[in-house]
C-alpha cells in the first residue's frame, strides 16, 4: 500500500513528501530546520531554555532536563494536581485509588504495590537552595517537608524520570488537550512564544502552529514574493490580510509591509500573513487545500520513521504503517491522587492488558501488534525511538533476551496496529478503553482531524 499523496500539505509538513512522491516539500512550507523564537524572560541562575521539537522552547534545569508543571484539574469527582503555589506531589507511596473518575469508587488497591514509587520519586521537585530569590515569574514555595521548590507562574516545577536528554518531553505534552476526561496531566513549561499581540502558537502533532489569539489559522501564499503581497482585490475576497497596527515594529522573524497607504500587514519570515474567510473552525487546515496556500508553523515536528505513511480516513488523516494500517498509541493515567502514568514500559501492565486482551496476554498480542523496526532502522530524532519489548510482559526486554521484539515507539511508548482494521483507512481500534481511551486505552495517531470542533 502506497501512502496517500493527495494530501501534499499535510504530508509535506510531516516530512513524508520526499518518500511519498520524490518531490521536495512545496515552496512556502515551513523549513524543517526552523526553530521557534521565544520571548526573553528573567530566569534564576542555573536554568536555561531548551528546544523541544514537539513543544517548542521549554525551560530546563542545569542538566538540560525539561521542566514541567502539574496544574490542578477538575476530575469527574473532585480535583487532582497542584493548587496555586503548592505541591501535592509528595514522597509518599499512594496505595489506593482516589475515585476521581466515575463510576468507580475510591479505595481500590492500586496494582503492583511492591514496586510502586511515590510521586516525588518519579517527579523530582525542582529544588531551590536556601539563598535563592524570586526572579520575574519565578517564585519559591515551601514543600510539605519544609524544603524549597521553584515555581513559575504559581505552578510548582518538576523534572521527569522519563527524560534523559535535553529536549525530551516524555513526561507530558500539551498536544492532546482533551479537558476533564484525561488524567490531571503534567506539561512542559516554557517562555512565551515571541509573537506580536494578536497571535499565538499551539503545539500540534504536525508542529508548532501559528494562529491568531482567537485560534484562527494563519496562512502564507506561494503567490507572494519576499516581503511583498500579490493578493489583489479578488484574492482578498477569500484571504484577509492580517493588519498590523500603526505602531507595529519589525522584530526577529516579524516585519510589516504597507499594502496601501495607512494599511499595514504582518509578515512572518518574509511572508505576508492572512486568514482564510472560509475557515469556520479553530486551528483549521482548510485553507491549505487552496493551491499555493499554506498553514504556518514556527517549527515542525520531526517526520515519523521511514516506511510510515499517511492514510486518508472518513475522519481525517491518520498515521499508518507501511501497509496502510492505522497506527495507534496507548495512553494511561491511574486514578490515584498522584495521577501517575501507566503507559510506559516500566508501568504496571495490568491496565493495558485489560483493554487489549481482557487480561489475556496472548489475546492482546493477537489483537494489538507492535510495529516492528527493520534490523537496520534507526531514529534520527527524539520523538521516535526503537525499543526492545518483552512481548510476554509488555515491559522492556532485558539485554540479549531471547524473543524480544525491536519495535517503534513514540515518546518512548510503543505504537501499535490493530487486528480489527481490515483495510487502510479503518480505525476501529480508536478510542478503545476507559474514557474513549483517554485514561486507559488506545487512540489513533491522527495527523489531521477537524470534524469534531464545535461549529
Amino acid at each position: 500500500m502506497k501512502p496517500v499523496v493527495g494530501l501534499m500539505g499535510v504530508v509535506a509538513v510531516l516530512g513524508l513528501a520526499a518518500q511519498a512522491s520524490g518531490k521536495e516539500p512545496p515552496f512556502g512550507a515551513t523549513d524543517p530546520k526552523a526553530v521557534e523564537a521565544f520571548a526573553q524572560v528573567p530566569m534564576p541562575p542555573g536554568f536555561k531554555v531548551g528546544e523541544s521539537r514537539l513543544e517548542g522552547p521549554v525551560f530546563a534545569d542545569s542538566h538540560g532536563k525539561t521542566i514541567y508543571k502539574w496544574p490542578i484539574a477538575a476530575m469527574r469527582q473532585g480535583y487532582a494536581g497542584d493548587p496555586k503555589d503548592k505541591s501535592a506531589c509528595e514522597d509518599k507511596v499512594t496505595t489506593k485509588t482516589g475515585g476521581y473518575m466515575s463510576p468507580y469508587p475510591e479505595g481500590l488497591d492500586l496494582p503492583e504495590l511492591d514496586k510502586r514509587k511515590s510521586c516525588q520519586a518519579l517527579w523530582s521537585p525542582v529544588a531551590a537552595d536556601a539563598k535563592a530569590k524570586p526572579v520575574g515569574d519565578w517564585t519559591i514555595i515551601t514543600r510539605g517537608d519544609g524544603t524549597k521548590q521553584w515555581a513559575y507562574d504559581h505552578h510548582a516545577l518538576y523534572t521527569s524520570y522519563l527524560d534523559q536528554r535535553s529536549g525530551d518531553v516524555n513526561g507530558g505534552t500539551t498536544v492532546y488537550r482533551n479537558g476533564g476526561d484525561t488524567p490531571a496531566e503534567r506539561s512542559p513549561v516554557g517562555p512565551p512564544a515571541d509573537v506580536p499581540p494578536g497571535f499565538s502558537v499551539e503545539s500540534t502533532v504536525r508542529g508548532r502552529m501559528l494562529m491568531t489569539d482567537k485560534k484562527m489559522s494563519v496562512y502564507v501564499s506561494d503567490h507572494d514574493s519576499a516581503g511583498k503581497s500579490n493578493c489583489d482585490a479578488a484574492c482578498e475576497k477569500l484571504w484577509r490580510p492580517l493588519v498590523a497596527p500603526a505602531g507595529a515594529q519589525p522584530h526577529g522573524d516579524w516585519s510589516v509591509i504597507n499594502r496601501s497607504p495607512s494599511v499595514r500587514q504582518w509578515v512572518f519570515r518574509k511572508k505576508p500573513l492572512y486568514t482564510y474567510v472560509r475557515d469556520q473552525l479553530d486551528e483549521s487546515l482548510d485553507g491549505s487545500e487552496e493551491l499555493g496556500w499554506h498553514n504556518v508553523y514556527t517549527q515542525l515536528t520531526p517526520p515519523p520513521p521511514k516506511g510510515f505513511s499517511v492514510q486518508e480516513t472518513i475522519n481525517g488523516d491518520v498515521l499508518a504503517d507501511t501497509n496502510g494500517k492505522t497506527i495507534y498509541f496507548y495512553t494511561c493515567g491511574d486514578d490515584s491522587a498522584d495521577q501517575l502514568s501507566c503507559d510506559t514500559l516500566d508501568s504496571p501492565q495490568e491496565y493495558r492488558l485489560a483493554i487489549c486482551g481482557g487480561g489475556d496476554v496472548e489475546r492482546c498480542r493477537r489483537s494489538w501488534h507492535y510495529v516492528p523496526a527493520a534490523t537496520d532502522a534507526k531514529s534520527d530524532n527524539q520523538l521516535w525511538s526503537i525499543v526492545r519489548v518483552d512481548p510476554a510482559t509488555g515491559h522492556e526486554a532485558k539485554p540479549h533476551q531471547a524473543g524480544a521484539l525491536r519495535v517503534w515507539a513514540y515518546r518512548t511508548r510503543p505504537v501499535y496496529t490493530y487486528e480489527g482494521d481490515a483495510q487502510p483507512g479503518d480505525f476501529t481500534g480508536h478510542a478503545r478503553g476507559e474514557w474513549q481511551g483517554r485514561r486507559n486505552g488506545f487512540r489513533a495517531f491522527w495527523i489531521r482531524s477537524e470534524l469534531f470542533t464545535r461549529t
Partner: protein, 359 residues
C-alpha cells in the same frame, strides 16, 4: 414533525408557494437536498412509564453491578479493570444480572421482511413492524425521551459535529407528492447548519458543500419512489456516521438499510430502518464511557447480551444472528447541496477509495 417555519421568508423562498407547473427553487434541476438535524433511536413510549415497562426500567447499571459484585472493594485489576475488560470483551462472561425487555406490542419502525408475525404493530396500525432493538432499549432510561442521556446528547451532537453532517439528495424528482422513480444519494456535508433566529433549530434553505475530502467513502446510492408525499427507498447495506462523543468517530453499519421519509419543500421526516450489525451497534454504544453509560443504568456487558439474544437477522455460519432489526427516527431540513466542479461520479469515487486512489 419538527417545526421549521420560524423563518417565513426562507420558507417562501424554498418553495412553499410554487405553482403546480413550476418547480420550487429548492427543486431546481429536479433535485432537492436535505440535511440531518435530529437522530433518535425509535422508542415508542406513552406518557406512563409504568404502562410501557410494567417491570420498571433497567436498574442494573455499572454502579449497581459493581456494588453487587464487589461489596468490599478489592484490587483495581480485580474490580474496575475486570469490568472494563468485560466492556471490551463481553463474551468472556455470560449475563450476570436480569435485564428488562420492553414487552409492548406497539413499535415504531418498518416492515423489513414483508412478514406479519413480528408481534409489533406501528402506532398507525401497520402490522409486521420489525424493531427488535426496541425490545432491548425500550425500558432503558438512556433511550427514553425527553431526558434520557443518550437520547438527548447523541442527538444534540448532530448539530455540533461536522462528522455527523449527513445529507440526502433526491434527483430526477418531478413531484414531491408522487414520483415512481427517484434517485437518492447520501453525502456528508462540510459546513455548519443554518440555524434559525432562536439559535437552536435548523432552518431550511441553508447550503452545504459535499465533503469530498474525507466523505467520499460515505457516498451511497439508493433507488426510491414517492407516494402520497412519502419517500421509500430500496434497501442497501449502508453506513451512517453518528459520533456521540468528542473526537470519537463512530459509524453505524446497517444491513438492508432503507429510508421512509415524509417530504416537504422544507424538510424530510421519518425513519432510517434496517438490521443493525450487532458488533457495530455495540461499538457505537460503548464509545460512551462507563461513566456516561451509568447515567441511564446501562451496564455495557449486560446490554450486549440483551442485544445478542434479540438479534433476528443475518445468521453466521453457526446460526447465530448477527444483526438486529431497528429504526432511527430522523428529521432533516431542506438544504442546497453544493457539488464540486465536475460533479460526483459515485462509481469512480468508490473505485478511488478502494484502491485506485493510492497512485
Amino acid at each position: 414533525m419538527k417545526a421549521y417555519g420560524a423563518t417565513l421568508g426562507v420558507l417562501f423562498a424554498v418553495g412553499g408557494a410554487a405553482a403546480a407547473d413550476e418547480l420550487p427553487i429548492s427543486m431546481r434541476e429536479h433535485k432537492i437536498g436535505y440535511v440531518t438535524t435530529d437522530l433518535h433511536w425509535s422508542v415508542y413510549q406513552t406518557s406512563n412509564v409504568n404502562t410501557d415497562c410494567p417491570q420498571g426500567l433497567n436498574g442494573n447499571g455499572p454502579r449497581e453491578t459493581f456494588k453487587a459484585l464487589y461489596p468490599n472493594g478489592g484490587t483495581v485489576e480485580g474490580t474496575q479493570l475486570a469490568r472494563e475488560s468485560l466492556k471490551m470483551f463481553p463474551e468472556d462472561k455470560g449475563p450476570q444480572f436480569p435485564y428488562i425487555l420492553a414487552k409492548g406490542t406497539t413499535a415504531i419502525g418498518l416492515n423489513l421482511d414483508g412478514k406479519q408475525d413480528t408481534g409489533f404493530t406501528s402506532p398507525s396500525g401497520e402490522k409486521g413492524i420489525d424493531n427488535n432493538l426496541f425490545k432491548v432499549i425500550g425500558c432503558n432510561a438512556q433511550y427514553r425521551a425527553p431526558d434520557g442521556q443518550l437520547q438527548l446528547f447523541a442527538n444534540k451532537l448532530i448539530h455540533g459535529f461536522n462528522f455527523d453532517r449527513m445529507m440526502i439528495e433526491l434527483s430526477n424528482v418531478d413531484d414531491l407528492t408522487n414520483d415512481d422513480d427517484v434517485e437518492v444519494t447520501i453525502y456528508r456535508g462540510h459546513d455548519p447548519l443554518l440555524l434559525d433566529a432562536t439559535g437552536e433549530s435548523v432552518a431550511p434553505g441553508g447550503s452545504q458543500r459535499v465533503d469530498m475530502k474525507y466523505g467520499r467513502k460515505l457516498i451511497q446510492k439508493m433507488h426510491g419512489r414517492i407516494a402520497n408525499g412519502v419517500l421509500t427507498t430500496e434497501p442497501i447495506d449502508g453506513q451512517w456516521p453518528w459520533a456521540i462523543y468528542f473526537d470519537t468517530p463512530t459509524v453505524l453499519h446497517m444491513r438492508d438499510m432503507r429510508l421512509s421519509l415524509k417530504l416537504t419543500a422544507g424538510g424530510a421526516n421519518g425513519l432510517i430502518a434496517g438490521y443493525m450489525d450487532v458488533d457495530s451497534y455495540y461499538h457505537w454504544l460503548t464509545s460512551w464511557s462507563t461513566h456516561h453509560l451509568s447515567y441511564g443504568r446501562l451496564d455495557p456487558a449486560e446490554f450486549y447480551w440483551a442485544l445478542k439474544n434479540n438479534a433476528d437477522a443475518y445468521p453466521d455460519k453457526d446460526g447465530k444472528m448477527t444483526a438486529i432489526s431497528s429504526a432511527i427516527t430522523i428529521n432533516m431540513a431542506q438544504v442546497f447541496i453544493q457539488h464540486p466542479e465536475g460533479g460526483v461520479d459515485v462509481q469512480q469515487r468508490t473505485a478511488d477509495v478502494t484502491g485506485a486512489r493510492a497512485r
